[in-house]
Amino acid sequence: MSSRENILAAVKKNQPPLTALPDISIFKVHEEDIVKKYSEMFASIGGLLVSAGSLENVKEQIRMNFDQGKRILTTLPSLSDVAELSDPEADPHSLLDVELAIIEARFAVAENGAVWLTEDVMGHRVLPYIAQHLAVIVPENSIVSTMHDAYANIASEDYGFGGFIGGPSKTADIEQALVLGAHGPLSMTVYLIK
């Protein structure tokens, strides 16, 4: 017998009688002010939050806060006057010099500050991880309360890759001293738009 058959046979023989799955619809949180809750959570984990209101203001913010001499990449055609449009055909290794990546989240989660991204909004899977700084645009009306609501949103959507990102990359491996910017972005900014 192959290892597969051996393992499956052993599992079948040894597993205990079937128990039921619990009801997880009991987990409901109602946020009075979901935008406020999101903003507080995101800031508490080291994120930078800007209530930009509109895409025009986002552009203004980007011009003000990021060096236009460095490589700024976006997947959003509407931002093409402040950033280079990401080329889906490019080799992911060529993204190492990206200073800032600007993408739009599918939605965000108030209880932990995270945004949900799928590869179609990332352009390249590696982009939100390899850029020195990450900026994510979050429509205020896309914010959900908890991870349960998040998965209700995602439902049975098919994607090749998706990820929650909850702030700048970080480590505390050296004596528990918090350092922002481990292997991923050094900073993460969320621009809230109406």
């Binding site: 599992v11 990102i165 480590t171 050296i174 481990a182």
Partner: protein, 458 residues
Amino acid sequence: MKSTLDHATLAEEFNKDEERVDWHDGALWWIRQKRDRSANQTPQWEELREAASAIKSNVISNLHDYLIQFEENLKKNGVKVYWATDAEEHNQIVYSILKEKEIKQMVKSKSMLTEECQLNEYLEDRGIEVINSDLGEYIQQIDNEPPSHIVLPCIHKRKEEIGELFHEHLGTEKGLSDPTLLTRVARKHLSNVFLTRRAALTGVNFAVAETGEYVVCTNEGNADMGAHLSEVQIASMGLEKIIPERKHLGVFLRLLARSAIGQPITIYSSHYKKPRAGQEMHLILVDKGRSDLLARPDFRDSLKCIKCGACMNTCPVYRKSGGLSYHNTISGPIGAILAPNLDMKQHADLPFASTLCGSCTNVCPVKIPIHEQLYKWRQEIVKLGYSANRKTFSMKAMALTLSSPEIYSTAGKTGRWLLNNVPFAINNKFNPWYKQRDMPDSSQQSFGEWYAKNGSKK
């Protein structure tokens, strides 16, 4: 490479540096406190733990069908699936995947399973270089030491020691020990590693039977940097990582980082489902004792573990003895109940490395009764004759003393007389209890003697 010294001996070594022990103890307790604050701020926290535990019970009871469903979906998604009975078979599979592509270098994110399998050593013997990309694991690797904690691999090291390692291996200035500067140096060095490795291996936190996707959680972003720049992506997972449906991720991702380090979610929770264009994805399902564990009703709940490390951070024995003294990849209370399943003789000492205070059970996000399992393992180990001779002898002596009123009374008298008249007979290095402690003053009489004298008085 496995140590032949037991936990008590290795802990004694760790305890020689009192300042380090105090620091270690405090650092882990601080993380435990962060976990408490985070849990207290989460509505329905106890119900979440209950739900997580029930989902994992269901997984354990239906693992056979979930594994088949997961495999089917992986294949549908274009992922190649392998099954490995033990470490050797797992390592061979990884090697054969790399060999076929003529790959000589691989980058690896945190995976306790591959640590357990000693994959790095196996591949290095065959001319393949592996670099661990999690900062803590990287530090442990260049120091040629296993991780001492599953979430915080080098929590037992001081920054000056890490600075010394970086000076030796990465050419930093001697004496540099600032955590931010050291992290920047590692970031730069590893960025080049990510860019040049054709193969990347990750562990798996959760594998969804319903969709065939698997989720990898990190704070550093190292798993994603490796995986998304690789042409060959390999994931190694123990059978127990399965969860039934995607929506169950909601429960586990709410619990994991809060329990681990008091953070509301890991910075990165990456859902890998299909290879990207031009890339291959491989997934290895590893048994390595798990199907045996399923057959042990008293211990099978330990398969629910989501590797958050909360039981280590809270454990008074772990905090004061350090993870390396457990001489097992997974240390602390959870390691002490998982290890005897694999080799009871070699790990016979671990269930005794506990005060059975139950704090581990109280913080476990999937409600494994860890301290009860520790107690049950002790019984198994003694019954099968694997406990240390000294312990067996003293337990037999204790059993004899407690079963005979005459011996009990004489032993008590003798003990009190010794403590009062010749304390050095007990306060000496032959009595392990005396280490780091003074024996208490003894009373002049036993309760029995006092009662005989005073009990009838009104």
